[in-house]
Symmetry: C2
Subunit: 300 residues, 2 copies
């Protein structure tokens, strides 16, 4: 079934202990769409500037991403983000942020997108996420991502959004910040009292878990032996997760449990290259192969 | 089948952010034996001093631990260890160590123990572990634990021991220190080139994995919502793991995979109390209940 993603596209400058990239394709909605594309045709809603490169449009189209919702802002410049990772990967420093076209981003869904049954609100200001969600008529399953910045400066908007979405996806640091609970199980339980019926908590290299009424499933990460760049791993997790859910067409506990493995697979390909250099080449055959391998590792 | 454990007994002084205990029952072999006791009768080999308390002997006997190998050293004093945990539990400071009777610990297996089929060499000097192992005639499955101190000051002894045991169990920090590999999968692979056919890598609150030829199984920790004291969690993991393996009577990949869940269950009870205050009260019914709960959380 149809899957719409509303969020950011970016040009990222990323430095790791081993290598770096300048102005590499990035952004929350971009990573999500590339990760979900083997399962469904993601409908991407986002804004870029006049500096947006034709080759990036071509890559996303070739990947099977629907770009009817890609707005090129006249006179605008694409969002830029810079980051540097410590050798242990656990610490990331943001070196710069240029919002550019995001300063006035007001998502408008193209004709037909309002009928989408699965909605992912990739990381963006929660008021923007709400604006996007409100245009979808009758979703079966809507999920929002967020980040520490919004918990810090737009908590009321985030709380309002949490009343409207079916699920919230966030990482360990964000969960602790949002709830004030250090223990992640208690943090997840507290998120469930704030609106969403379901919470998906990502722990990076330590895996992820999903929790809701009658639902609790936890799994380790796929054992990647060489991480190249963790940027976008969380968005790719969400893309693999939601892509599988949308393809299956329901949000039953059984589907959501299996979807956690698909998210794990997508994230594992993402971190094997800068930008979407690795995951962008991975088709359904690669996804299936690693899904089966992961099944061997995580089930009795 | 029979399970012998050789290692330490201690009186620990532990301080957490919330509470503390002075001279609480501790030690690697003690935690292991208490954790394994619901499955088999652990044969404990270790030394204590004249200050050893009768109540601790009584508790271990009531738990079903065979104490024929407990040596009370005349004029000796029991090993003492002090530790303090940071509020996030991830950092532990050793506040003091008094080796006492451990300075001259030379394990001697009582009559009959030499026929034991399953052997656990709990954390101790690797030369002591070797001395213990050499007295067991024909074990089906032998596992050694270690710690950063021995990697630092007794690496040659540890390397010699690794040639003799079937499996090595260690935590993430120890694995990185022993192999020089930051990535834990690569670290585990490197351990497998150093002698043992199997490696079990514990990651604390992030779970554990087991790896060997044709064997790779990974699982998250049981979701404990209130940790009281993590001391002994790794030894308890090993106890639950080896207790189940010894009860089953084989070390096939299928048994070892299931045993990882039993180890996880034992560790989860251990951290719910100081010393063995919680796990010491848990019988097979508790173990089974939590095993089934964990199965729901980790399998599709």
């Amino acid at each position: 079934m149809s899957l719409v993603v509303i969020g950011t596209l970016a040009y990222d400058s990323v430095e790791t202990a081993h290598d770096k990239r300048e102005n590499a394709l990035g952004g929350s909605a971009m990573y999500f769409a590339v990760a979900a594309a083997p399962y469904v045709t993601p409908q991407l809603v986002g804004a870029v500037g006049e500096d947006w490169r034709d080759e990036d449009t071509a890559m996303l189209k070739a990947r099977g991403v629907d770009l009817a919702g890609l707005e090129v802002v006249p006179g605008g410049k694409t969002f830029r983000w810079g980051g540097r990772y410590e050798p242990d990967w656990n610490t990331r420093h943001t070196t710069f942020t240029e919002l550019n076209v995001l300063e006035s981003f007001d998502p408008k869904l193209p004709a037909g997108y309002d009928a989408s049954k699965f909605v992912f609100l990739a990381n963006a200001h929660p008021a923007v996420q709400m604006q996007g969600l409100s245009q979808v008529k009758d979703p079966i399953f809507s999920v929002a991502d967020t980040m520490n910045l919004w918990i810090d400066i737009a908590l009321d908007d985030l709380k309002a959004l949490m009343q409207k979405v079916d699920a919230l996806i966030l990482n360990d640091e964000e969960a602790r910040m949002l709830t004030g609970e250090n223990n992640l199980i208690r943090a997840a339980q507290k998120v469930l009292t704030m609106g969403p019926k379901i919470v998906i908590l990502k722990k990076g290299e330590h895996g992820a878990f999903i929790m809701g009424e009658g639902l609790h499933f936890s799994l380790p990460a796929y054992p990647v032996t060489e991480v190249i760049d963790p940027t976008g791993a969380g968005d790719s997790f969400a893309g693999g997760f939601m892509g599988f859910v949308a393809k299956t067409g329901d949000a039953s506990p059984g589907t959501l449990r299996r979807a956690m493995l698909h998210g794990t697979v997508a994230a594992s390909y993402c971190v094997q290259g800068f930008s979407v250099e690795d995951i962008g080449k991975r088709g359904l055959g690669d996804y299936d192969e690693r899904f089966n391998e992961l099944m061997q590792i995580v089930t009795l």
